[in-house]
């Protein structure tokens, strides 16, 4: 009934429609103008940070007080560190809990809740002397018992531990030597162990609270951190307040005492335009994960400041499936390496806000081999001749053919389009067309089945934030095959590389260890196992009144030093 009524009688309809269109255009232009003024001159807006001069006063003694509103891009899954699997949760978890040790930006391990430690000659037991002046938010004293409880809790299936269960490996058991001394036993030596212990997801929880709340500890988190949990309004905000007793900050921050801020309120704002818009309008003081185009325009505008910290571990890397013909041939992979112009991709998509990656590790990760930088240059002629050598000749449509087979490449990427990764696929599709490779892109939500279980891909991209080069093992060691999966991610097995990784895990001399990982990266690059693409920077847009936001080695924000200047 409604549908029939919509038709209008009369021959004037056509002219009306044209009139409407003209007005519509006018309106669109008007709205566009408004939009521009928003990001441009911004005359009538209540700018969040009027007195830029006050920034000059940064050298003065910090004034405690104030409330920092900080917008997160997604909702944390858990505030129980042992159960969480999301980086976004770590931003909050870092404020609530501490670890035995801390990792400095240079990769070195520093004391935190542990004052000092010794490692047994066989590398299988670590003895920590703990601080004696630490207590949890609920008053429970921090001691060896609490450390044992926390680590054993991760191993307990009833905890339903997520990422922490991989990080705690190869921890086996703990012995309480005395109240403030604990010995951790490993099933095998691991150089990555201390670095992993510095990660927020294996931080120390209050045994009293964890026992009391059980499953609901995640909603009632209690740690020893610089902030205490206040409340979690689902999908809206998480509030933490200053822990006035705090006196055991890691060496990563200047302020060793209680945080200056009264409160941090983490707002959950998934839509990036809204998140940044809220900072611009002054509704909140800071927002994380700033899209590249906003970084560029905000930096030009100069009203807000951008904090940026590159993540460590594995950069966003395209893994070429070396078990799938023809990409099992090193020359074929080298052709891809030579044909893909990574600089153009990263510059175009991220507008100079992301660094291009050169190696299997990111700069800043222990053992990073900077000599690989600038090593591989786009060279279409080289790429073409490599494919010629393998017998792939251009067909009528420009796509190469061999034995009646077309040269195709199955490029799998996941949905949603995180960090414009789907767009990288499209770029590569275009670039490889130039050397006669037909790229079929598959965007799937079910990476677990397609990639990890099915190994049904020629290229798949992934990245990992990690504190230690041992992260390479899970991707490149021939034994790193998930249960039910046929191969490791690049489908690559090289005894020489395996040996380097195995040696790197137990090598006690730091310089030798660095050298082992450099060799490993060179092999990975030489054999064209991967195409490294970019290093992901964690970014925060903040009002200029927000001072001294710092980041840990893995680019998670630390709020201990933060002050808000009025």
């Amino acid at each position: 009934m409604a549908a029939t009524r919509i038709t209008i009688s009369g021959g004037k309809r056509n002219t009306n429609w044209r009139g409407s269109l003209a007005s519509l255009l006018a309106l669109v232009l008007f709205l566009a103008g408004c939009g521009n003024s928003g990001s441009g001159s911004d005359a009538g807006s209540p700018a969040p940070s009027q007195p830029a001069e006050s920034a000059a006063a940064a050298g003065n003694a910090p004034v405690p007080g104030g409330e920092l509103t900080f917008a997160l891009a997604t909702s944390p899954d858990h505030l129980d560190p042992h159960r969480s699997g999301l980086a976004v949760a770590v931003r909050v978890i870092r404020t609530l809990y501490d670890n035995l040790v801390a990792q400095a930006p240079d990769g070195s391990i520093q004391p935190w809740l542990a004052k000092e430690w010794t490692v047994s000659p066989d590398g299988k037991s670590y003895t920590f002397k703990l601080r004696e002046d630490v207590k949890f938010h609920d008053g429970t004293p921090f001691n060896a018992e609490a450390v044992k409880f926390s680590y054993d809790r991760i191993l307990d299936p009833a905890t339903k531990a997520a990422n922490s269960s991989a990080l705690i490996r190869p921890y086996e058991s703990a012995e309480v030597v005395d109240e403030y001394t604990i010995k951790l036993n490993l099933s095998s030596p691991s150089n990555a162990f201390l670095g992993n212990l510095s990660q927020a997801l294996v931080s120390i929880v209050s045994p009293t609270a964890a026992r009391k709340y059980g499953d609901q500890f995640t909603k009632n988190p209690v740690g020893t951190g610089p902030f205490k949990f206040v409340k979690w309004e689902e999908n809206a905000a998480i509030t933490v307040e200053r822990n006035p007793d705090y006196n055991w900050a890691p060496p990563l921050v200047e302020n060793q005492g209680p945080a200056y801020l009264d409160r941090v309120i983490f707002k959950i704002v998934p839509e990036e335009a809204t998140r940044i818009g809220s900072v611009q309008s002054g509704q909140i003081l800071a927002g994380e994960t700033v899209p590249p185009q906003n970084i560029v325009s905000l930096e030009q505008e100069g009203k807000l400041q951008i904090f940026k910290s590159n993540t460590q571990g594995l950069p966003y890397t395209l893994f070429i499936n070396g078990k799938h013909a023809p990409w099992n041939e090193t020359k074929a992979r080298q052709a891809l390496q030579a044909a893909i112009d990574v600089d153009t991709i990263v510059q175009t998509l991220y507008l100079g806000t992301y660094d291009r990656a050169w190696s299997a590790l990111t700069p800043g990760t222990l053992g990073y081999d900077a000599s690989l930088e600038g090593g591989i240059k786009p060279d279409l002629e080289k790429a073409k001749s490599l494919l010629d050598e393998l017998g792939w000749v251009p067909g009528d449509d420009g796509i190469r053919v061999k034995d009646g087979q077309k040269l195709s490449l199955h490029y799998v990427d996941s949905s949603p389009n995180r960090e414009k990764r789907n767009d990288i696929a499209v770029f590569i599709q275009q670039q490889l067309k130039a050397i006669g490779v037909a790229v079929e892109i598959e965007i799937t939500k079910d990476v677990a089945t397609v990639v990890f279980q099915g190994a049904n891909y020629d290229i798949y991209g992934n990245s990992q934030v990690n504190s230690d080069p041992e992260a390479l093992r899970a991707f490149y060691h021939s034994a790193s095959v998930l249960p039910g999966a046929p191969q490791n991610l690049p489908g690559y097995a090289n005894p020489e590389l395996d040996r380097l990784l195995d040696q790197g895990l137990i090598e006690t001399d730091p310089a030798t260890r660095v050298d082992l990982y450099k060799q490993a990266q060179q092999i990975i690059s030489r054999d064209a196992v991967i195409i490294p693409i970019y290093v992901f920077p964690y970014t925060v847009a903040a009002a200029k009144t927000v001072k001294n936001l710092r980041f840990d080695a893995l680019a998670y924000p630390l709020f201990n030093d933060v002050v808000i200047q009025s």
Binding site: A2, G35, D42, S45, N163, N235, A273, R275, Q280, S281
Partner: protein, 308 residues
């Protein structure tokens, strides 16, 4: 009348059951291992995975899973969140008021602006007000809400600073999202009211009223609008679904609490019992609104009553 209401109620129940089956089957067919929502599958031993599967009941055959789910739903038990073991129904009920507020506010905006502009544009046919109203109508219907929402934020929060860009709770935070969503409904209603007004204006009884010397204002607002509103009322039932679906996007754009956010988050974290629960709950609400509209229609329009 009672018999009719009973029949309507019964068909509604069938629809509700159908949606329950559909929701369950679709979620069941989704690829991926439900256990991966709970633990890091690569780091846990097969025995632990098996015991988790058993605990979650996902190792059971389809029909057993289905009947135990239906059995629970009938008793008001929608299962538990995989993420934090929270019962699903209380979670939905906790977040539903925010979504309901947003839906009602946007329906109010849709109805008031839609009817107002619809009448004005019919009276001043082809005048500037008509053109403006039709542009708004076109905008409302064709603009995706995530886009108009961001546009509203840019203009009214970032540029003008009149309203907060996000959040929920206070009335001020309700304005922009309610407009972003309400403009969709307004778009439909403008068109509908305008057209039915134009039709009614040409009917003989309007001519009679005018001939009797009744003021044009009274003719339009008392007599013509009344008849023209009847189709707009039926529209509300359809629109309520449109608006409820719209809250999923709008709640995310404006970072508001509500069941739209609950389901988006649940989808992202593969929390299937929550997804199932919200979809089914929304279906029930939708059926309920349409049942009410259906029944009330008979009270409002005398012709429908007579036809029975």
């Amino acid at each position: 009348m009672l018999r009719l209401a009973a029949v309507r109620l019964l068909t509604s129940l069938v629809v509700v059951f159908g949606s329950l089956v559909l929701v369950f089957v679709v979620v069941y067919l989704l690829p991926g291992d439900p256990v991966s929502a709970v633990v890091d599958v690569s780091a846990v031993s097969p025995e632990v995975l098996a015991s988790l599967r058993a605990e979650m009941g996902v190792d059971q055959p389809f029909h057993i899973q289905f009947f135990s789910y239906v059995g629970g739903v009938v008793q008001g038990d929608f299962g538990q969140s995989l993420l934090n073991d929270e019962p699903v129904l209380p979670k939905i009920l906790q977040h539903f008021p925010a979504t309901l507020t947003l839906t009602l506010a946007s329906a109010l905006i849709a109805a008031s602006f839609g009817i107002w502009f619809g009448v004005l544009s019919a009276i001043h046919r082809n005048g500037w007000i008509d053109i403006a109203a039709r542009i708004i109508g076109l905008f409302g219907i064709s603009m995706p809400t995530f886009w108009s929402g961001i546009l509203l934020i840019l203009i009214f929060s970032v540029s003008l600073g009149w309203f907060p860009a996000m959040g929920s709770g206070s009335l001020r935070t309700l304005v922009l999202p309610a407009f972003a969503l309400g403009i969709v409904g307004a778009g439909f209603i403008v068109r509908l009211v305008r057209n039915s007004m134009l039709e009614v204006i040409n009917e003989p009884f309007i001519l009679t009223l005018r001939a009797k010397g009744i003021s044009e204002r009274l003719v339009m607002y008392r007599h013509a609008l009344r008849s023209a509103l009847i189709p707009a009322l039926t529209m509300i039932g359809v629109l309520s679904g449109e608006l409820m679906a719209g809250t999923v996007v709008i709640e995310t754009v404006f970072a508001r609490q509500g069941i739209g956010r609950v389901i988006t988050d649940a989808l992202m974290s593969k929390d299937l019992p929550v997804v199932q629960g919200v979809v089914f709950f929304s279906a029930v609400i939708y059926v309920l609104i349409n049942l009410l509209v259906d029944l009330s229609y008979r009270f409002i329009d005398p012709r429908v009553r007579r036809a029975q």
